[in-house]
């Protein structure tokens, strides 16, 4: 937990809320310091959207920068004031005999959709983050795309705390539910040979079924592409939509295999754009 992060959240909220609502929120936080039992917490969490509404949390560029500095990767863009207040309350709960992870699990089990999203968005701010990983794994199993994305997108928790197996399955599930990969933090840093293999298998499965292959998968393949994976990339480079060909070129440019470099020689314009950073994964979005 970071005090700087909580202070920032608190300041943004107090600036945006009217004085009466702001005072109400502070009073609830103070009361929970005295009585942090589940029954009291449930009522505060339930009352927050009724009191605060769902307006988007207003953040200046400086505040966003400060957010990312207080906790590496923390990105509260798109949060509502209700998200912010609930997370402020949860992250500031006094320590009791019951570990936070256990309380978090109980909350998740009885949460409505919006609450689940809030609970998982708040992950960067909670105490003892490593103890939450199992419940976060449960969240990823959700069939509700917005809940999945509350964990996977714009959230530094997965890249910081997931072991490789969970990481890989999160990325794969994103593809299966049509969720973009680009908003996943740490996609390049956490790339690994196992994920590259899974992605190539996935591409073959899609081709066999006569379905399209999402261009983003090649980003996970590139740095480990060799052998058969180079053949797959050559296939995409020589056919497919423009965006797919560009993705294949980017993946080949990241490959350590000499065949990749030779393939790219036939596409000097693309290679030039990549070399000059005119074509990147960011420009492909």
């Amino acid at each position: 937990m970071s005090d700087a992060a909580r202070n920032l959240l608190r300041e943004c909220l107090q600036r945006q809320l009217d004085a009466q609502t702001g005072a109400w929120l502070e009073a609830q936080i103070a009361a929970l310091m005295q009585d942090p039992a589940d029954a009291a917490l449930d009522i505060v969490l339930g009352m927050i959207p009724r009191r605060l509404g769902k307006a988007q949390l207003a953040l200046s560029a400086a505040e966003l920068f400060a957010a990312g500095k207080s906790i590496e990767g923390w990105d509260p863009r798109g949060w509502s004031v209700t998200d912010a207040a609930r997370i402020l309350v949860l992250s500031g709960l006094p320590r009791t005999a019951i570990p936070f992870a256990q309380r978090f699990r109980v909350l998740c089990r009885s949460a409505d959709v919006a609450e689940l999203i809030t609970l998982y968005r708040g992950l960067p701010l909670y105490p003892d983050p490593t103890t939450l990983e199992e419940q976060v794994g449960e969240g990823l199993r959700s069939n509700m795309r917005a809940v999945f994305e509350a964990i996977a997108h714009h959230n530094p928790y997965p890249k910081t705390y997931f072991e490789e197996h969970r990481w890989n399955h999160m990325v794969l599930k994103a593809l299966f539910i049509g969720s973009p990969l680009a908003p996943i933090q740490g996609l390049d840093q956490r790339a690994n040979p196992e994920l590259a293999r899974i992605m190539c298998d996935f591409a073959h499965e899609r081709w066999a079924a006569g379905r399209s292959v999402p261009f983003e998968i090649w980003r996970c393949v590139g740095p480990f592409a060799e052998g058969q994976a180079i053949d797959d990339l050559a296939r995409v480079l020589g056919s497919g939509e423009t965006i797919e060909r560009h993705a294949a070129a980017l993946a080949l440019a990241a490959s350590p295999d000499l065949r990749a470099a030779r393939l790219l020689q036939d596409f000097p314009a693309l290679t030039g754009d990549i070399f000059r950073d005119r074509l990147t994964w960011a420009t492909l979005q």
Binding site: V113, R145, I177, G178
Partner: protein
């Protein structure tokens, strides 16, 4: 015409039903907490049930552009299992304040036993404390007396009749319910509760001022298009459009909107945050599949042979 089905146990229904309801004009449903066709044996399965109706079911509905609300309560049948009932009563306050919970319900009597009476009264008090409307399930057996008693007990506890929907009315109960100032719900449920031709006659006789039409569709042989078919039949048989709109849309919104959790903007003009979180009318699911299908085209036919 926009329609609301303010009593539908969607947890028991298929995606085909959602699709058909959306195509018929249903923009919102209310899922009352009830029993699931067989008794639950422990509080854990009740917890999971309540989580489903505030969570996954809402998401399922949203895929078809239907806004899903629910009511929270301990039903009369399971009130008779005291051990379970005690556990559930501890859960109710936690769930009653969730977003989109528009009432305490459906509660009331089944056999009219002492335990049913006890938990009915406790939940009426809770509704009063939380400022929530109440949805009353009137009993199948000894219906007339049970309906009268349900309202007597509400009066005794000082509930405002305009905060209470008395559901599953019929020709025998409607007069008293209306005269006492309660909202009168009618469930268009084949063979048992109410047919839509009978419903049209009730609208003709009593008007639509406090009348709310629902389907009460569930795991039994029931009709998710109950509201839509009633609206269509009523219009065909000369009931004024405004009366149909009241009975099949506006009254439900007025009654349950008193919770502060249900507004017309929810489906007419959803907030951006809402749109993302719980109202993904056009979300793409499972490998790019578009769940909403063209109007008038049902998957429930052998003519549409190709499964992609």
């Amino acid at each position: 015409m926009m329609l609301i089905d303010p009593h539908a146990h969607m947890i028991s229904r298929t995606t085909d039903d959602y699709e058909a309801m959306a195509a018929s004009g249903v923009v919102a449903v209310i899922e009352p907490a009830f029993w699931i066709g067989q008794p639950r044996t422990n509080v854990g399965s009740y917890l999971d049930y309540l989580s489903s109706i505030v969570g996954f079911e809402r998401f399922r509905a949203s895929q078809f552009g239907i806004r899903h609300y629910c009511t929270i309560g301990l039903n009369s049948k399971e009130a008779n299992n005291e051990e379970l009932a005690e556990g559930v009563m501890e859960l109710i306050p936690r769930f009653a304040l969730k977003e989109g919970v528009v009432a305490i319900g459906e509660i009331g009597y089944d056999e009219q036993s002492p335990l049913e009476d006890k938990y009915y009264r406790l939940q009426l008090e809770l509704a009063k404390k939380l400022g929530l409307p109440v949805m009353i399930h009137t009993p199948h057996r000894d219906k007339k007396r049970g309906t009268t008693r349900s309202m007597d007990v509400c009066d005794e506890h000082g509930l405002d009749p305009t905060m209470v929907v008395v559901d599953h009315n019929n020709e025998e109960t409607v007069k008293e319910t209306l005269e006492r100032g309660y909202w009168a719900g009618f469930s268009i449920y084949p063979s048992t509760k109410m047919g839509n031709a009978r419903m049209v006659e009730i609208l003709r006789q009593y008007g639509a001022k406090q009348v709310i039409v629902d389907s009460a569709c569930d795991w039994g042989i029931s009709e998710p298009l109950g509201v839509a078919k009633t609206a269509k039949l009523a219009l065909q048989q000369g009931i004024a459009e405004e009366q149909v709109r009241l009975a099949c849309y506006q009254n439900a919104l007025d009654a349950y909107g008193q919770s502060g959790q249900m507004k017309e903007e929810d489906w007419l003009n959803p907030q951006a945050i809402d749109q993302r979180a719980v109202f993904e009318g056009n979300s793409i699911l499972r490998g790019g599949r578009e769940p909403r299908v063209e109007e008038g085209k049902s998957r429930r036919t052998m003519d549409d042979l190709i499964i992609e």
